[in-house]
Symmetry: C2
Subunit: 733 residues, 2 copies
């Protein structure tokens, strides 16, 4: 059994630092375990008190009957001894709530690392420090001191949603909002500094839990690659949808690097590409996280993206249609027979095309909504329904709820609702809709956004994105760290990647023969070891004839640092792309995007984790704007997209042959009707290696000592603090 | 006095169609006027009943003591007589709630137009038909039959917010949410089919109302140009902020036109550009509309965009920082002295840089928040504050509210709050924060988004965008509808717009001399009257020498329809842009964007209403991605942006000299270090004229008879129905 299960279903919980002082964290945790009816044993640990809150207390966990889970809330200086006590006593998981470790600087970090080492040595997992604890909802296991649980009206509600949060305060704030909505939870775990256990790892463990219906997470980095892959695998295996709010977006691009690939593989792009590739929904705010949680918990997955909208308000219908277009769904085209049926239902001043507007005539005939919903749901061109209401007054509610529930159950299609009106007009509506399994949102746009997440999580969408696994050709050998353009191109050519014909000449007198061999006109490029951008120093001459070759080569040879001249065939113009491989905290990533002069101006790129499938690469290309240039246009034939995909897959396959931490930057790659050719290639080798990713037990990136990243450094992933624009990871206490 | 004032402050209201039947619209309206204490005279009009709801009833308005406002809720067939009665009785505004007019088809449209004509003839304004009425909050003037006002707990709250909505149901749904939040309203008017009065016109009238603090609107089109300009002028004069939700976004691009300018000046881009130009905030959903309404009503305008974030949760701080970057604000850099002050307040595991994280230590020392807020607010580099809290339990509230209110009042800077936790933990907090003048939001991102709107509405932001008025050079004469490339270029040159040297030859034998005159190498282009894209038929040859000119010209002369060959100097390569002028329902608009092959692939353009100032044009360019290519890059010098701006202003000045309804499309305009040159120019004359915009009294675009727009048709503006993807404008009953 996964030790992390103790976070929500331990048979016994020790509170180390249990206090006799009312309001102290160690007092609150004991009180909460009692108040919420925890069914296991509660073990207060206090140096001297014989009793805490009426329970027998113990001077140490080791001296107690023992505990599977321990919540440690002693002062910072006492934490090492408390961890040692727990480790010695056979605790499975120690949750350190105390702050004052990695988030305070190098000293705190060293102490924190020692805590992890101590836990590891005993086979104990460590959550935190600097978190607010963990809660199991079915058993009333509130191992937390969040003020949420002091609320007079706070009640636990057990359900299928697993939640993990790097931030304690925001995490339990989110839990409070989820409970207020009526959502049922399985577990809520806050992970603070993530010295050992990350929120991603908690989610991966929750995915295996029976009864888990959805996973929601708030993360401040996406650096735990193994846990991310484990989570994705669990999602794939169990079908449990996952939605993540990854903070630190504004850090994107702040660690600008010397290579284009480095610039474009920003932290945020890596997060975006990785989650899309793994079928995980990314949300942009807390309310959206809960909106999606409701959709995936209450509604079944749709078989496709075609939305039928039924509304009692034309305005809501238009807003829903706008959102459908904005979130990658499609407005269903209703069959003529469906519209015929609707014509008998909808008054002449309504609308029988999608969005279907039954109008306020429903106030006179309450069967209109159910008849319209049934007609739209029966249409084979509709995969899911969004029903929009505005002011829903008390007497309307029962008819509406019944109609929605019957539609969902009869059609087998998901039905979501928007209710854009004050709660007090029908206070019972929210609970009734939830009980009927209809996720309900305050606006049409939010309903549609949730529907889009429902579709993204559905097997249908995942299947559409996947394809035969392929990682492209592998290179015959590893490339050297010092490889220049010519060596890289030779290496690429061996892997079946097309490069221009060419050769390096050292004596300008040899240039005419080289031009003749490559074909006129040729391109001459200066060879300067270590120089990334030859054009910056005037080191590239195009359109060179054999006759002019010697003079051009002579001029290039005189440039500072020149060791030779590369003579190449001049490739016909085409669409210029960038293809690159760069390290990231999640392992090597593949970038494709706008190349040449457009690279920086358009900031147009998409990133995927390696390895990739052909379907991944095609989806990745479709995410860029520059790929639209590949289509036939104004008499220009379409570029050879298949050749480009083949090239990208071959480059992807070369990632394993790159020196550790190196970024490979092919820019431009020219694509035209005749194929795809790498015009320039550079290797940046001073990037940190993927091994630089903090291992478990090392501080989170946010707590790492500040420092200027080396030129060409790979971007951090999703770590707000790494860019200096956001605070260190403090667990939000 | 503006007649529209009767919509919220009439001395007497007639309900035409007052009913004895409980629940009937005409019964509800009378009951609502009584229930909400309307202080004026209520005049029920009924063919025979002597009394309605205890009030004396009259057979007609003419037979009554008279009314300033009439709400007409009789069946459709009786509406013309009711309107005639009102007109004859001297009613100032008749609000027609009844449906079944323009939204049902041509017959209903004709009836609707007759209603407007009848009203106009008597100097009476007409609101609707197909709306749910109008409410004045100070006087309890509920001239509406919305079920909102039947709610047991519904109470009016008078305040400074003016609200208008094209949709009735969505409009009163929004009003119900505003009241539930505790917002105070001045008026709420629904305009339905907008046969005469538009929501924009209502907002412009509300802007002049004493006590108006903010204007919020839900629109389904932005076609009422005069009202939009009146609203913008009122906003400028009074400083009242305006926020609009314009539905129908998904219609963007659906009426694709033949010219690039047509394609790029989509309905949604026109809406976007016009609102930005006029200093009106555009929102994307109902809750955002109310979020912005709270911010601009409760908080004062900031002097700049620099945000200081103070949080008790690191996670909230990161989310706030992300949103700051996403919404065009800036995270303030705190002064060293500010951070020194904070070091004495914030525990070591918190953060003294922005976002400032005081951590959950506030639970132990409630002065921490006020001291941290005071320090950040006193920093001269901070223009506005966003304070983030999570679980806010009962006992914290008073200290937090006091601290926030004191900070706002002492510093004179706006303070907004996020509270990411369940209401029930501190049920009084919402009202207390509102009473203290602190707009409060459920998440940090929503607080920051509202702060961004507050800044967009502030005089500081408006001033930053404006500049000396200038509409560029005016042309010496109007251009002819049949002008081809050469004639257009001559016309442009007369207006000081740079075009390549060139001449048209008819005999290929004259081509070499023409090339010699223009300079080698030259470009040869076929002349085919009416052909927009010469390259599609191979009609453009570049790099032509004098020696090769005759042969190239001969080949071009043989193309179908060729009447000659244009010989031009070959302009050096540069950044290719599109500059265009096109008609729109709001009058002519100016488009700039990516040109050449990038035009369609990047879909990168920004639109402004004409006339424009130089500041408008610079802001417009800054909105495009392609403008980033104009900067110096990789050894290439910066392009001459001033020359481009001068060119765009000159083109803008030519708009008045275009034939009615014509679109002028300059693509590409090449910009390099040496200037900006128009390489190709085309005029599309079969676009509908701006006079095609429905005049007041004509049906809204959504109700217009369906039809395929002519090729080259100008895009509709914001009218969802025009694209066939959204239902006809039904007023949302």
């Amino acid at each position: 059994m996964d030790a992390l299960r103790a976070l929500w279903s331990a048979r016994s919980v020790a509170v180390v630092g249990a206090s006799t002082r009312p309001g102290a964290p160690g007092r609150l945790a004991v009180e909460f375990l009692l108040r919420y009816g925890y069914s296991g044993a509660v073990i207060p640990v206090h140096p001297s008190a014989p009793q805490i809150a009426g329970l027998p207390a113990y001077p140490s966990v080791a001296a107690s009957p023992g505990a599977e889970l321990a919540l440690i809330v002693v002062p910072p200086a006492a934490v090492p001894a408390a961890v040692a006590d727990c480790a010695a006593a056979g605790v499975r998981v120690a949750v350190v709530g105390t702050s004052g470790f990695g988030e305070t600087g190098p000293d705190g970090l060293a102490t924190q690392q020692a805590l992890v080492a101590r836990a590891r040595g005993a086979g104990m997992r460590l959550v935190g420090p600097n978190c607010i604890g963990a809660v199991g909802f079915a058993s009333g296991q509130v191992a937390s001191f969040s003020p949420l649980f002091s609320g007079e009206r706070t009640a636990l509600r057990a359900g299928g949603i697993g939640f993990a949060s790097a931030s304690g305060a925001l995490g339990f704030g989110t839990v409070s909002l989820a409970l207020e909505r009526g959502m049922g939870l399985l577990a809520a775990v806050t992970t603070g500094n993530e010295a050992d256990v990350t929120a991603l790892e908690v989610l991966a463990a929750l995915a295996a839990e029976p009864g888990c219906t959805a996973l929601l997470g708030y993360l401040e980095s996406l650096a735990d690659g193994p846990a991310l892959r484990a989570l994705a695998a669990a999602r794939q295996a169990t079908g449990v949808p996952v939605a993540l709010l990854v903070a630190g977006r504004s850090a994107a691009g702040a660690r600008a690097a010397a290579t284009h690939t480095g610039v474009l593989a920003t932290a945020d792009r890596v997060v975006d590409g990785a989650l899309r590739q793994l079928g995980i929904v990314r949300v942009s705010d807390v309310d959206e996280l809960l909106d999606v949680g409701d959709a995936v918990t209450l509604a079944r997955p749709p078989r496709g993206p075609r939305v039928g909208v039924v509304t009692t308000s034309g305005g809501s219908g238009i807003l829903a249609a706008d959102a459908v277009a904005a979130h990658g769904l499609r407005l269903a085209t209703l069959a003529p027979s469906t519209m015929d049926t609707l014509r008998a239902v909808v008054p002449p001043y309504g609308a029988v095309a999608n969005p279907v507007d039954v109008t306020a005539a429903v106030l006179r005939d309450r069967t209109l909504v159910s008849r319209a919903l049934a007609a739209v749901a029966a249409d084979p061109g509709v995969d899911l329904l969004v029903a929009c209401f505005c002011v829903l007054a008390g007497s309307d509610v029962e008819a509406v709820v019944t109609a929605l529930a019957e539609t969902a159950s009869t059609s087998g299609k998901p039905v979501l609702a928007a209710r854009t009106g004050a709660d007090h007009l029908a206070p019972e509506a929210g609970a009734a809709l939830r009980a009927a399994g209809i996720p309900t949102y305050p606006t049409p746009a939010r309903a549609v956004r949730a529907a889009a997440a429902l579709y993204q999580s559905a097997p249908a969408a995942t299947t559409a994105r996947s394809g035969p696994a392929s990682v492209g050709a592998r290179s015959p050998h590893a490339v050297d760290r010092s490889a220049g353009e010519r060596e890289l191109k030779a290496w690429l050519a061996q892997a079946g990647v097309r490069v221009p014909r060419g050769r390096v000449v050292h004596d300008p007198a040899d240039a005419p023969a080289a031009v003749a061999a490559c074909g006129e006109p040729a391109v001459l490029k200066v060879v300067v070891p270590g120089l990334a951008h030859k054009s910056d120093i005037g080191g590239v001459v195009t359109g060179v004839s054999a006759a002019g070759a010697a003079a051009a080569a002579r001029r290039l040879r005189q440039l500072p640092g020149a060791t030779g001249v590369l003579v190449e065939e001049q490739v016909p113009a085409g669409v210029e792309l960038l293809v690159g491989v760069a390290p990231s905290p999640l392992g090597p990533v593949l970038t494709v995007g706008a190349g040449g002069v457009l690279t920086e101006a358009l900031d147009d790129a998409a990133v995927r984790l390696l390895p990739v499938t052909e379907a991944d690469v095609r989806d990745q290309l479709a995410q860029t704007r520059v790929a639209r240039l590949l289509a036939a246009h104004r008499g220009r034939p379409a570029a050879d997209v298949d050749a480009l995909v083949d090239l990208v897959l071959r480059v992807a396959g070369l990632a394993a042959s790159l020196p550790p931490g190196a970024a490979l930057d092919l820019n431009p790659v020219v694509v035209h009707a005749g194929g795809a050719v790498v015009l320039d290639a550079a290797l940046t080798v001073d990037a940190p290696t993927t091994e630089d990713t903090p291992p478990a037990g090392a501080p989170p990136a946010g707590a790492a000592p500040a420092g200027t990243p080396p030129a060409g450094a790979a971007p951090a992933t999703g770590t707000a603090a790494a860019a200096g624009t956001a605070p260190a990871l403090t667990g939000g206490r």
